[in-house]
Amino acid sequence: MTLRRVWAWATSLRGRQLWVTLAGALVVDVMTGPSGSLNDPTAGFAGSLLSRRVGIFLLIGFAFWLLVTSRERLAAWSRSWTAAVRPSRWLPSRWYRLAAYGVLLAVAIVLPLVLSPYWQEVAVDQIGVYVLLALGLNVVVGLAGLLDLGYIAFYAIGAYSCAYWTDSLPIHPPFVLNPFATIPFAIAAAMLAGVILGAPTLRLRGDYLAIVTLGFGEIITIYATNLQSVTGGSPGNSRPIPHFSINLFGLHYRWGIDNMPYYYLLLAFVVMVIVFFHNLENSRVGRAWTAIREDEVAAAASGVNTFRYKLLAFAIGASTSGFAGVLFASKIQTITPLSFLLQQSILILVLVIFGGMGSIPGAIVGAAIIQWFPNGLKTYVRKEDLFLYLGALLVVMMIYRPQGLIPSRRRARELALAESGLVEADALTTASRDV
């Protein structure tokens, strides 16, 4: 009799919430616990599950469960936080928003000046470049609702184009350019690659794009490694890629080793890209993407050329990535195939998902937080375990908060509507085949 009551409680909502929380606590325990090794594969599990740690984690999990489920206000808060859409009480007017952007920009200009050189470098190499990359992927994943898992390949194409046109590769270009002047070439090359890859795939199901891009991201490093006479192979380019420099109308400036000039250059580019993407989102193109996301069949029936707009989003994402590749190549000077590993694509995807699909502030904040994480917690987290945490983060975000940290209002609404079966919230269906 009591057994039956225990069972009834254990399978009730609160009971199940307890089990899930405790299981989550155990997973976190193993994730943060000691590592095993080749000779002792159980050491990691034993060290984290059979030591005092496990009690602490289970207690924390239990306390968390107790707090969230028994206090009505906390429970309501956690529900609202994980619900697909949060009612927005505060709707900022246009002027408030502009003022907020102004303040953010001012902070972005002043803040790095007070940072230590180490953090300045993080701000350029890890945050600045990745903000740019996240903004580009945000167009593909967030605005068009497609999944691109080989995004870093276009970054590699941009970087290698820059190296080619500045005569830093074993092969020589017809004429040598300043790194700034290579930007249009790099963008064109990345866009072309995007179109070649997207054209056969996007006519079919959108989810094929994910695996084709995954494969593309993998083979681009194989090409960069194997084509030694073209790319320099695994040691990298033969001559260093020159830093950026301006030599126009009596104005001379060279970007050197110092990080700050790059920071401001990046900031200027990021602001330009944000303005461009913001306008794009609210243009005919952006509305077409929204229509495709919400109902591809209806969009096609209303005269939207779904294939062309999907390809456009994919190409814009690719070219942004190629653009970022130029900035990266010219700063770092030596590029090797190892700079463009597939897991970088996943990292950028995490930035976009964590920040909020389809949300420009989300992409920026996501990039800043996630890229801060490995550097800020370096003493606690082993570097090689980073993707363990990021993978778990992706799953948890998809289960509990698919709209991300700072959701785009429209995207959050779509996700909520998708859950009631009204819209699709992605562009992975098949409508374009018959159109």
Binding site: L204, I219, L388, M398
Partner: protein, 312 residues
Amino acid sequence: MCVTQHFWDFFVSGLANGFVYALIALGYTLVYGVLQLINFAHSEVFMSGGFGGLFVINFAIGSRHPHGLSSVWFVLVGLAAGAVTGGIVAYILERVAYRPLRRRNAPKLAFLISAIGMSYFLYNLAGKEFGRDARTMKPPFTVSPNKPLFTVFGAPVNLYDAVIAVSAIAMLILLDRVVQRTRLGQGIRAVAQDADTAALMGVNIDRVIAQTFILGGLLGGAAGFLFGLGTAGVSYTMGFTPGIKAFTAAVLGGIGNIRGAMLGGLLLGVVENLSSACFGASWVDVVAFYILVLVLLVRPMGLLGERLGRSA
């Protein structure tokens, strides 16, 4: 042509790879059949099967030198261990990364993202717990594995190739029977044809989907063991490349189509091996990608068509 000289050599060793691809491809195709989703974490099911098989067989063999009939037993034990590990991991995967999203009626994009997250989580967990170097499996035979057993058209067939082929064929036939003849198979086919109608007819969809994942996981895990046996090593990153290739194989044969996955796997293994003879071993991994793009361009429904899945 570059392959005329040793055509059958490359053909035979390609066939052995092909059987492994076919087993993994079935996992993709089964899940695609019932959910219309690419299971990005299936390569990690394969990897975990490799580890499961490796630990059990290394423990079971200990310091012995198995020969004769006991070799057969050890191979069976390893296969079972790999399959069970794969099945368990696939089930956990379904419960954690798929079912909560299905309950919420989440968009397809969310499924793909949570699966890719799960894939990264799983393989990095394996790397953390089991070390990041490749581990070697104790051979269950005393015969040198590379010693040719017999020849086909002058091409030597070594022991590993034969073991892989025999166990894969047995599993493929078994799976085909399960899907065609049993109640479970009937459920899978019903859900693949039309999930909503199947639910109205009293099919427990959640249950069928979980069983489909487990079925795919059993095959994938066993393939992981065979792969570890063939290359004599298991590592946490071993799933990625065979995973993509197996997906290519599934598309090549027609995704959602079980016999298509088998055919696609064998074909891909052979074509890949023959082309590696032409272009050099460092280009092997590129071939599958081109085949994938080519199939999508020319015949997106695959060689045998998408029979299990929806027509859309």
